[in-house]
Symmetry: C2
Subunit: 141 residues, 2 copies
């Protein structure tokens, strides 16, 4: 136990620096919440609340700024499954999602498990950026 900064925090600071982002108190706090445990799906509001509970003091605007900066740096990706709010995903690899509307929950589906066949080629002048599968779930009757 060192007085300040675990290995994980040092690594995170390095990741932020590499991404051209100053490792501010707020970014480090959010980065720890996002990247310390396994893959996560958060909204700005859920992450802001979680940060507040963890004792971090930061504004919602900063959470939005940070989520977008992390996304632009490739540390996060956005997932569109619901018109009402934007989800951010710490798993930036190729994968898909279950989405349970009734509890607004995302669950990863590993990308290598899924095979999609028969997609038409992209229209002229366009190219495929990404193929996303969303499996909508409802409670079993």
């Amino acid at each position: 136990m060192r007085a300040s900064g675990s290995k994980a925090v040092t690594d995170l600071v390095q990741r932020l620096r590499t991404a051209g982002l100053r490792p501010t108190r707020q970014r480090v706090a959010l980065g720890r919440l996002l990247f310390s445990s396994g893959d996560r799906h958060v909204t700005a509001e859920s992450l802001h609340l979680e940060a507040a509970k963890a004792g971090a003091q930061l504004s919602l605007a900063t959470v939005y700024n940070t989520l977008h900066q992390f996304t632009a740096s490739g540390l996060l990706r956005q997932v569109v499954v619901d018109g009402a709010k934007t989800y951010f995903d710490t798993n930036t690899g190729d994968h898909h999602h279950f989405y349970a509307e009734d509890c607004a929950t995302l669950i990863d589906i590993p990308g290598d498990a899924v095979v999609i066949d028969g997609l038409p080629k992209a229209p002229a002048g366009m190219e495929i950026e990404r193929v996303e599968v969303v499996v909508r779930l409802k409670p079993r009757v």
Copy 2:
């Protein structure tokens, strides 16, 4: 040419009645725009604008009400591809979409062309409501 109502309009009025919706001037006007030509993807705003251009007088609130009522009746479905606005689709059958973000345009991909393999089974207590594939397009470099 009869004084009022083509076959298409008569059919539409019947469809609305069957759905438990009174065939009001506004609903018939929107229904004609939506269902007279082939499959379409609209937003509330785009449909409102189109109705205005066609000489219909109706409020944006009515467009929202009508789109939701048509959706609840199974005449339309919603497509979530963009956090910013909600798309409504006159094709309620099983199919998927290309989405060109740069021009906010949806293009249908027939459902029977696409085969998706290797999806995990739904989590306990949940069942699959629908599988949606969105192919995001970007302009070719």
